[in-house]
Symmetry: C2
Subunit: 300 residues, 2 copies
Amino acid sequence: MSGQIIGPGSLSLNQWTTRRWSVAEAVDGCVRHDLAAVGLWREKVAEQGLAESVKLVRAAGLRVSSLCRGGFLTAGGLPGEEGRRAYARALEDNRRAIDEAAELEAACLVMVVGGLPGVKPGEPAGDGPGGFSRDLAGARDRVAEAVAELAPYAGERGVKLALEPLHPIYCPDRAVLSTLGQALELSLPHPEEQVGVVVDTFHVWWDPRLFEDISRAGRRIASYQVCDYLHPLPEDVLLGRGMMGDGVIDFGPITRAVMAAGYTGDVEVEIFNAAVWAADPDEVVATMKSRYEDVVLATR
Amino acid sequence: MSGQIIGPGSLSLNQWTTRRWSVAEAVDGCVRHDLAAVGLWREKVAEQGLAESVKLVRAAGLRVSSLCRGGFLTAGGLPGEEGRRAYARALEDNRRAIDEAAELEAACLVMVVGGLPGVKPGEPAGDGPGGFSRDLAGARDRVAEAVAELAPYAGERGVKLALEPLHPIYCPDRAVLSTLGQALELSLPHPEEQVGVVVDTFHVWWDPRLFEDISRAGRRIASYQVCDYLHPLPEDVLLGRGMMGDGVIDFGPITRAVMAAGYTGDVEVEIFNAAVWAADPDEVVATMKSRYEDVVLATR
């Protein structure tokens, strides 16, 4: 690993960073700020309409750096008929997500795989009528099975599933994939063009094996997402993602490692943060552009 | 690994679980509830007096399963004279902690190694006058140096340093040791009787390499601490530790793995939780005893 930057791809606006923007507004914003790529969310695409969204990004000449998101594959770990139905529903929803990613020619479909069966995002464990499962190993096995089920379907449509390890704080309710190494292991049984991994700085910055696993992941890296890790985290830990430079992450070494591993895709900025969402989206994009140069690429 | 339980040691009350109890009260409580061991905190020992604390635990016939805690070794990563002074102060304080552990004949001195230099526990990053450092790799190197400095001193006094990996949520401000595997690597250059590791269920339950690393750690496991991981975490994430059975952790497999690895020491219950601290300590100890049987050993 030379450490030489062989990329980078372009800066991409993940539309959740400017959450109040529709697909049309985000596309306009990217054009106005001279960005070559955008990361889209399924909810927003549904609001705009899939066909209209495709038309908008093509007319603007934008690449779709990712579609967020598929996943939530673990509910099938609940017992009996409830579990079987939940699993079937999840697979069906993921096939629709793959279809949408294909239409949008997205570089990948980001997969947030789901937490312990029955634990709903943000809700107390065990409050649901069906209770919840503490079988973490079982949930992880189920994710592997579901990925094996979905990968060929994705492959036939030219879509790459991008398995996203989430910070361990989200293990109970959002993702039993907790490290890059674990996501990488899960991807290896499948062709590189069908299953890759996401490196999101917020989720992986603390990992003592990060640089080794980035290097090992190589061309399996399907998406590089950046935002900072705020300290202390806000009460809603989902909103602890900050503008690059506002938190504790040293981006330079991570960016260089991702590029040295052979990643040439776009670099998406995805920020969940109440203050960022409340700000003028055009100002957010302007700040994002300057911080990208100063902090993420550390070229100035 | 046979999976057969070759331990377990006795249940031990970490005195922070019954936080309002002094050393004298905790010792009385252990005797009253028929416990054979207690985990002590330096602050509480200082309040009681070291000599008096030694006298109390000996008179009661209690083992001291751990002394909490040494560590906070990373401040030396700040630049210049400030950093050098902070490092020297930290080493000196840790030598005093080792002396105290020796007097108490504690089974180990638990080491919480410290976070990014200049980030204070619970305080916003960068608000201190000296700013803070984002050099995570450097902080980890500094911990390794400090452990190498302290291990022989501990060894001469018959004290074992127990390196505690903390959940990655505490990486910014409390411990740049984030996984059991990383703690184990750090321990390996030193004799087993000088440096071991802590397995605390709250901190490691999510780790995809947990069972492999417990097995690899073997006799390096110096302390097994248990409490549950609550979901969602409270606003002060430090207080997200719950009574076993109240959270998302499946204790049985972890307990069996720790015992199969050869651990024969005591099992400490260490809970930081506002509701537990507000409750009658005798009721807390009674609940702890029944949950230990039902949930941690899963023998009923």
